[in-house]
Symmetry: C2
């Protein structure tokens, strides 16, 4: 697999790592390097197969790796600088961890013999990486780097996928080695558990009220099978509120979404006697609240696990379809029907969503960090042409703009539409610059209501009623208002401000018809 090299001369450890990655199919690296990563940067030069994409902040880098792998099915590498690098990247690695996205972090550290000193950038790199990584390893010599890199890729792809962090002391990157490493085999998912299939089939055929709760990437094939099982047996198919990817729109099966707020979710699940868990865990609320339940399984409702996240999800669903006799029935698929343009001129989440669904291109990848204003577009595009929908999985905001970068790098032939709440967008606003540098076809729609609207709702829900002016000032984004068109211009991205349906319609048409990135600030109530 490895390229021919002169074995007597060898390569740097960094070069051996880049070659190992390329051989294993990891050929995109989102980078924010520092001095300790300069040999890795140099190695990028010597290897034409590795594409490197610069982010001006590490949260951009890690969020891009998440969006990339969700669309590509293969991990990207990241290049991060000592403890502060994965620190700045931690929030989006948290989201990737919750999405079970494969990511391969390369984190430079001081040279092995320099770690003993309290230099300014000395830090507990491993300690920083561990809370968000399923796999962490420190390379201790240049001869180990290639093998460690192959192991990192294998670990990242270990079902269902995880964050793997390889820490690379600078001397292991600059020292020379003749070691190489072929890709390691993919670890197979756990095989179908036939007894679980039998148990669940019995439940579904019992006629008792049953919910099939599903998480994980929901491809059209997967939702089609699950939907056939549900409609054939009378069960309800529901997905978790936050899932990594959903193929949806016209020609695809519809999957209901568990509501975010616990009371509403509890109501949806209230009459279930059985909940079948498909690549997910028992439902709980996002947060706990005083005097509200956080465990959402109703009393007297039994939980049954069809397949764990690490299992063969499609295999289990197919076996279940066969067991209940739903394998050959016709799935119910959504028709193709774009919503009409709204007649009213006031721009609010619902009218914006109708314009969104009216124009969304076929094959678009929608990155949804729309927050409280995003639901209008989700509903507005229900029967739009088939498209992908990527959702914030870990609740750590600042996921949208970087994930849009990654999705666009993974899918250069598809339009990426980034539905972005204004408060969340500020966490990783630097991603716009990378969109401009790489001339990515990203349309960013900033849902600009100039407040942390979710917090204004949550403030009341946690029982802290009637916020005073000091508390309110912590929950709103005004004084001064953010001017997103200027922010975008500052990073080389053209933009428009839209305050009416008509302005938004014109801006969205213009954005979708031009290549490269652009941004629309949609001013909402």
């Amino acid at each position: 697999m490895s390229q021919e090299r002169d074995p007597s001369n060898g390569t740097t450890g960094a070069e051996s790592l880049v070659q190992t990655f390329v051989d294993a199919g990891v050929d995109v690296c989102f980078t924010n390097p520092g001095t300790s990563e300069m040999h890795f940067v140099a190695a990028l030069d010597t290897n034409p197969q590795m594409r490197c994409v610069l982010g001006l902040f590490e949260g951009v880098v890690t969020g891009a790796a998440d969006g990339y792998a969700r669309m590509k099915g293969l991990p990207a590498a990241t290049l991060l600088h000592l403890g502060p690098g994965p620190g700045n990247g931690l929030a989006n690695l948290h989201n990737a961890k919750k999405a079970r996205t494969p990511v391969v972090n390369v984190v430079g550290d001081h040279a092995t013999y320099h770690r003993q000193y309290d230099a300014p950038l000395s830090s507990d790199v491993e300690g920083v990486a561990r809370p968000v990584s399923g796999w962490v390893k420190v390379s201790e010599s240049a001869d180990d780097v290639a093998a460690d890199g192959a192991e990192a890729v294998q670990a990242a792809l270990s079902p269902p996928g995880q964050v793997a962090s390889l820490i690379l002391p600078a001397d292991t990157a600059w020292n020379r080695t003749t070691a190489t490493a072929d890709p390691l085999p993919r670890i197979a998912p756990d095989p179908v558990d036939e007894s679980a299939v039998g148990e669940v089939a019995g439940v579904l055929q019992s006629g008792e009220p049953t919910v099939m709760l599903i998480n994980g990437p929901l491809t059209a094939d997967r939702t089609s099978v699950a939907s056939r099982i549900a409609s054939h047996t009378g069960a309800r198919l529901i997905m978790d509120t936050f899932i990594p990817r959903l193929e949806r729109g016209a020609g695809r099966a519809e999957v209901a979404r568990l509501p975010y707020f616990g009371e509403q979710a509890a109501e949806v699940l209230a009459d279930a006697r059985h909940i079948v868990l498909i690549s997910t865990q028992p439902p709980v609320t996002f947060f706990a609240y005083p005097d509200k339940p956080n465990w959402l399984t109703p009393e007297g409702c039994a939980l049954h696990t069809l397949v764990e996240r690490s299992g063969d999800v499609d295999g289990a669903l197919e076996a279940l379809a066969a067991a209940v006799g739903a394998d050959s029935i016709e799935p119910e698929l959504l028709p193709f029907e774009r919503p009409p343009l709204p007649s009213a001129s006031a721009l609010e989440p619902r009218s914006l969503g109708a314009v969104f669904g009216h124009l969304l291109p076929e094959g678009a990848v929608v990155v949804d960090e729309g927050g409280t204003c995003g639901a209008g577009s989700y509903f507005g595009s229900r029967t739009a042409p088939p498209h992908d929908w990527l959702i914030l999985t870990g609740g750590s905001i600042g996921y949208g703009p970087p994930s849009a970068v990654g999705a666009a790098v993974a899918c250069p032939d598809r339009r990426v539409v980034s539905l972005q709440a204004d408060g969340a967008g500020m966490y990783t606003v630097q991603a716009l610059w990378t969109q401009a540098r790489e001339q990515l076809d990203v349309t960013t729609i900033v849902l600009s209501n100039r407040k942390y609207a979710i917090l204004q709702i949550e403030f009341d829900r946690v029982g802290a009623h009637n916020p005073g002016p000091k508390a309110m000032s912590m929950l709103d984004l005004g004084n001064p208002d953010l001017d997103w068109v200027s922010l975008a211009r500052g990073m080389g991205v053209p933009g428009w401000r839209a305050e009416t349906v008509d302005e938004f319609h014109k801006a969205l048409e213009a954005s979708l018809s031009q290549s490269g990135p652009s941004l629309i600030e949609a001013v909402l109530p």
Copy 2:
């Protein structure tokens, strides 16, 4: 110390914490809250003595706390949200840790009974906070919160100062309690070690070449004593390259600065037979490089510790001055002499620095994250009116704009001048919004050379010569150029672009004469 309350009714745990902080002198809170912190936000409302300042990203919050405490000598509190909060804030907490700045983090977590579930935001909050905290504690009930808060403040102020992180599960914040806590006594620094003083006095009086190496906040009084000892004994007084704070300019003693690059630092130290460590550790290079030394103490040079960082630094210096007979001599202080305006029109770091020194107001607080372009201003203001200089201590970039926020909140009557390298500034650019909201008197000078210039230098120094186009594209900030005036406008901060000495002179005059924040993009070669 605590305010009177109705003991039968009690307060929320969060209210008890805010009151404890206020009683202990911690009356500023830099916040970026989420749902789990809503009761703390509500408590801010009930306590008029606590000032709260919102940041749109946690790196702003933690960097502001660092800048605040460096100027105030007392910690600010931060308010952060679960694992991703301290994650996003980690880079600037790293800088605070290296500066030994007292900081009190309040990090919300899920309610104690919700932590067991894999909810989207469940995370190892303690694991994230630990690598950058000297003290970490998890409150386990509302009754503990006040006492834990008092302990956190005491820990943060424990000499020489450290980051203290108090993790507050949501139910400990919302449950009611009658517990209160008075401030705990300040922990005293270690007393002067008379035998160390005697040893160092003997070294200084031996006539052998000696360097006094100093770190820690360098007040005018401290540098005056140290400088008198050095000039009286013939020793050289040198400070570490990166120190938290320096009172400098006209009327103050001059302290040489150890060069950043190891070869130059080694040359400075080459003929030393003794290095006296004053609140610092043996000198090492910032990074290790192939075939270059990283340990900077020359062979045959002895190391002597006068006082550790946790010791009574001023007491030790005064004892040493008395021991060598330097306690009553006149210190050598710098004259007041502003540099003339440059005659050439080309704007480069040196001419910019001359204008800077020509105009710097008395009592200014300069936050220096100027990177490779900052030295011109450091030299240009050598004999400017007395001012403070805050330096990036941990090498984790993105320190400048937030630290300027904190310094301005701590010192509302002083002009803050934020000398900001463009690459580093992008990490925490959101701080400009907080400067606008709080109408802080901050003049930001963006040193815009449109590259990671230090990395272009380091690329060569680590032995990775002749970067190709791919490597170079990872080290430059062009394509597209950042437009800082638009970025600032997007956050409510007025700005100017300056491409000549004259344009920069006019812009700096204008900025310094107006209240509130403004920004100058100085375009440099």
